[in-house]
């Protein structure tokens, strides 16, 4: 059953139209990857879903409800959270405070406490760093913190924008492993990546976004073997 259903979504900045009517779907329990080149509109897609970039046309159905015109803060409390590109952690708040900010929309202190423990379970390094300022973490740790922070709102769907950006391959593997674990625990994931091979290996399904339009969608394994995808995005 569809958790997220996007129909003919259009969005842009000023005179520039970035998304020219894209449709996509994420089912419960799924990992879906959107791959594409620079400027294709991947980040804009996630920002529009989160309510930060205004919708110009089309509709977004989430968990059976229309969230097309909802402001960002209401979308988060409906269960759709984003870990934005470039991590965007709060560098001068401690790791623990960063996590608490992620739970801002909630008011069940015991539940939040339990979820902080859960975040430490997924990313043990964060527990060691709990009292440290977020900005003193390494790039990989910051990415872990950004994901853990997004999880603190107990999302049904997690949007991840370029989680591999600027990280060493070993760290990327580790982070993707946790994403898989999260998914097994029931969180659906919509992933935007330039690292197409890694993303498609992780995902169940994939979409290719080219200059604001979806040009291909298929099962991830099929896409990995598709000659066009191979030529354009996998460098083979």
């Amino acid at each position: 059953m569809a958790l997220l259903e996007v129909q003919q979504l259009r969005a842009g900045y000023g005179p520039i139209e970035v998304l020219k009517g894209i449709s996509l779907q994420v089912d419960k329990g799924e990992i879906v990857a959107i791959i594409g080149a620079n400027g294709a509109g991947k980040t804009t897609t996630l920002m529009t879903l989160s309510g930060i970039v205004p919708v110009r046309g089309g509709s977004i159905l989430f968990d059976g409800q229309d969230i097309t015109r909802l402001p960002a803060y209401q979308i988060v409390s409906r269960g759709l959270a984003q870990s934005p590109e470039g991590r965007k952690i709060f560098p001068r708040l401690t790791v623990l405070e960063n996590l608490e900010m992620g739970a801002f929309t909630r008011n069940d202190p015991q539940g939040v406490q339990a979820d902080i423990e859960k975040a430490y379970h997924y990313f043990p390094i964060l527990k060691q760093r709990a009292k440290q300022a977020g900005g003193t973490l390494s790039g990989g740790e910051q990415q872990m913190l950004a994901i853990a922070r997004a999880l603190m709102s107990r999302p049904k769907l997690l949007l991840l924008d370029e989680p591999s950006l600027g990280l060493a391959p070993m760290i990327v593997l580790k982070i993707f492993e946790v994403i898989r674990e999260l998914n097994r625990d029931g969180v659906a994931v919509l992933l935007v990546e330039q690292n197409a091979r890694m993303a498609l290996k992780l995902a169940h399904r994939g979409y290719v976004l080219e200059t604001g339009s979806i040009t291909m969608s298929d099962r991830a394994e099929t896409m990995l073997n598709d000659p066009r995808v191979k030529a354009a995005y996998l460098g083979e």
Partner: protein, 378 residues
Amino acid sequence: MRNAKLPISWEMLAVAAALLYPLVPAVDDFLFRLTHWRFGFVMPTIFILAILALALNVVVGYAGLLHLGIAGFFGIGAYVTGILTVPAYPFGCSFWLAVLASTLVATAFGIVLSAPLLRLRGDYFALVTLGFGLAVMYSIRNLEEITAGTKSLNPVPPPELLPPFGQLFEAVGWGTDWASEYRLFYYLTLAFLLGTILLLRNLERSSLGRAWVALREDELAATCMGLNAARLKLAAFALSAALAGMAGSLYAIKLGSTADPLAYDFNRSVTMLCCLILGGLGNRNGVLLGVALILGYDNLLAPILDDVQRALGEQSGWKKIVLYPFTLLMSTKGKLMMFGLVLILMMRYRPEGLLPSSRVREEMHEGDPAPHTLPRKE
């Protein structure tokens, strides 16, 4: 983290000193003999302006928005109290009612002004607050039918002493006349200041306080966390307006008049901002230190040096040659120059202020072992 307990004890020490000062008349008498100024009469004004500085700190220090019109809310508070209490108007409200009404009216102005303000960022936000402050000042000056213009509304009556206090003060041998017994205003304004400090201290530790910090750090990320940026800014602005209005009300009551409209001009806003910057933006204790230094200098030290300088002017000999230029620079005549010099030096060597909050310090020194974040991709 050496001696992590120290700041708390300093805090307590300062509070204790402020509470005990009037109980030891010898201190005030000694300062009077030394300077011919009654410190106890000036302190309440400084306490009131400290509330104003803390009010400004909510918007500038916590939420990170440049606010150049705090004096406008201060003026609104003063004039609401004036209208509600002076004999020229039929209201004749009591002290408590006047303070409450001033606070509420200033809050209402803050909320109304927020509507256009919250759509603006950075410089534009600052410009609108600047315009608002000036608009209030010119309105007060020119709406003579309501505000009596430059003649000001007066007399604003002093508060009635609540029964237990009146008897208490008589029992310990203090006067109950507000004009001659400085301790009355001293403790009244100190109580309001301590109340404000407690309120803000709790707020800083609440989720609202943390949300303001997050908003200042990264608005986009904060929005992704489900923070309602507009509502948070509105809360900061309204709280700041409320406290400034309350301070304005106390100011009018302390002076016994709403003062010349120029008391609420741009200068006032900027002076308050300087207190914040000198002391340490975002840090409550830093702000109070800034107030003590700048306003203590402005209201006490400079006038005292004026007297010294006048006395020296009539003398001759080495004392005059050595001390005269120094006192001239430090007195009211030279104070703006000193003030400018100190600010320039501060900005160059210690932009985070004397007692910075740890977070602001990291923002100000980019070269230091600082937060390492990924450069933006674009």
